[in-house]
Symmetry: C2
Subunit: 315 residues, 2 copies
């Protein structure tokens, strides 16, 4: 059986894969005749897209490198009855830790410390009320899946209150309460911190727009660790300018890499990280483990066993 490993997959997890009856190909080693023989793709790149466009291909399963599969040609894949699995859960702790870092950065006014460093000048003028704690903060978290639940777990451990937003308002682990995505207005007014960790779909595209921000009186911190296009960047900037949103921490952007011309770079109250909130020394072993578990099942039963994406929903 032939498996294609896409350019997305880092070298360090391509080693020591099971070899029984399996041939691994990559973008350098693949030949014309392989296109119709590959049954499994690990990751998505131009070659996988080429295979999908062949009339006679045998691709049955694509294991995504990422948790989100918004960049997959989902309709085409669904119409060809190909299964897609993601790496949901692998990134949860790193994203949750990063989310705590964002909250602590602004609660402890770390910009003051960094200004001191730039100027080599001590500044201990104390505004007691400016420095906060994570206890008693109220978090409104859009997305109650693996990652949202891990964020909520860590927030609650440190004394915060967690309200989750999902489709139906169904209860979810580690959330003190939940509301539906059509019924969160009153929660928005009470929140100190809003986090987006929703998958990118037609419904969530530009969900955080002027209409959303106008519902706020004052938000201490807006965090996006989901997908960039869920936020209308111009509208977020307006909300920062008007003071409705006091701080923002953004790991993802409508355009990535974020261009040097972006006005976001000029805002001291915006913390920008390079789409790495999910990255950690534990990420690649986790990604590999998901692939190996699903590959074992595929070799035995002809299909992967875990983290199967519902292509109609997009996650």
């Amino acid at each position: 059986m032939k498996i294609y490993i896409s350019n997305q997959i880092p070298n360090q997890i391509r080693e020591n894969l099971p070899q029984n009856n399996v041939t691994y190909l990559n973008s350098s080693s693949i030949t014309e005749s392989d296109y119709s023989q590959i049954e499994v793709a690990w990751g998505l790149d131009a070659t996988v897209k080429d295979i999908l466009n062949q009339n006679d291909h045998r691709l049955k399963w694509i294991q995504s490198f990422s948790a989100g599969v918004d960049y997959f040609p989902k309709e085409q894949i669904a119409s060809q009855n190909i299964m897609v699995t993601n790496t949901s859960g692998v990134h949860s702790v790193a994203i949750a830790n990063t989310t705590l870092l964002y909250a602590l950065f602004f609660n402890r006014d770390l910009n003051l410390a960094l200004d001191m460093r730039n100027q080599k000048q001590w500044n201990d003028k104390r505004n007691y009320n400016q420095l906060g704690l994570l206890t008693k903060k109220r978090w409104l978290i859009f997305g109650t899946g693996h990652i949202g639940s891990e964020i909520a777990r860590e927030v609650r451990l440190l004394g915060g209150t967690t309200v989750g937003v999902n489709h139906t308002g169904h209860s979810a682990e580690n959330f003190d309460s939940t509301v539906s995505d059509t019924n969160y207005d009153s929660e928005l007014k009470k929140a100190d911190i809003v986090v987006n960790i929703l998958p990118l779909t037609d419904e969530t595209h530009h969900m955080f727009n002027a209409d959303f921000f106008e519902k706020l009186d004052h938000l201490f911190l807006f965090i996006n660790v989901g997908r960039g296009p869920s936020v209308n960047t111009a509208d977020l900037i307006d909300a920062l300018d008007s003071g409705r949103v006091e701080h923002a921490a953004l790991d993802v952007f409508e355009e990535e890499p974020l261009p040097s011309s972006s006005p976001l770079w000029n805002y001291k109250q915006v913390l920008i990280t390079p789409h790495n909130s999910s990255v950690s020394s534990e990420m690649l072993p986790g990604v590999k483990e998901v692939f190996l578990t699903n590959l074992k099942s595929f070799l035995k039963d002809g299909k992967p066993s875990e983290k199967i994406v519902d292509l109609s929903k997009g996650y």
Copy 2:
């Protein structure tokens, strides 16, 4: 009864104090004749030191503004049978939250994000092994009192292992294990993060010196949220230069304010905060509550009831 409120005490907690049979004086309102009549001092300043030098003063109790009383003339106070109470416990959560921030800052390589901001230039070159999580980190915490225990509590909630160092190695709440302050060498080699939260005494002065740092093979992060003079700064800089200590986060310094000429400002791997790790919107109400509790007891029984300092130990 006359109570002196020192210049250390912020205005916002001088309001609404009990008025029955009590007169409050400050550095502007105090007169020569008051020096021999004041029984209580809230905070320590030059005037309180002047009172201590009077032969005929009646001072019986000093309520410290801070948790540490290293800057008190303790021998003189002890010889005059004056009681000292501190604010131990009031600062614990803020210091613990700040300690998590330090650990996350370097684990998530936030310097990269801040360099991006300075240069308005995206950089997503991923070194997967450079980014860490708080889970599975091993912390060696010098000091297992209120603050050390709160740091350990929060660290453990997020999956870390906590080893405490105290005088005898007695067990302490929230610590997975403890060792004595003469027996921590093997723990030092295993630690990822070392935290100092010991009070400053003759024993702890320059305790973190070349001898200490030479026992390390490689430490990810050294944190000082105790007192500056517990660290020999020149020796810490040598340890940073040699790579034994990879990062440091310092809230306190041998000389405060830290002078602009300090070489510490030049180290990107050193995070400097202006002795504010304990400050938060909850600090002043907490400080006031301790004073009011002790004042109530003093007015009734002639002595304060809680957070009494052992002047022979210095904490």
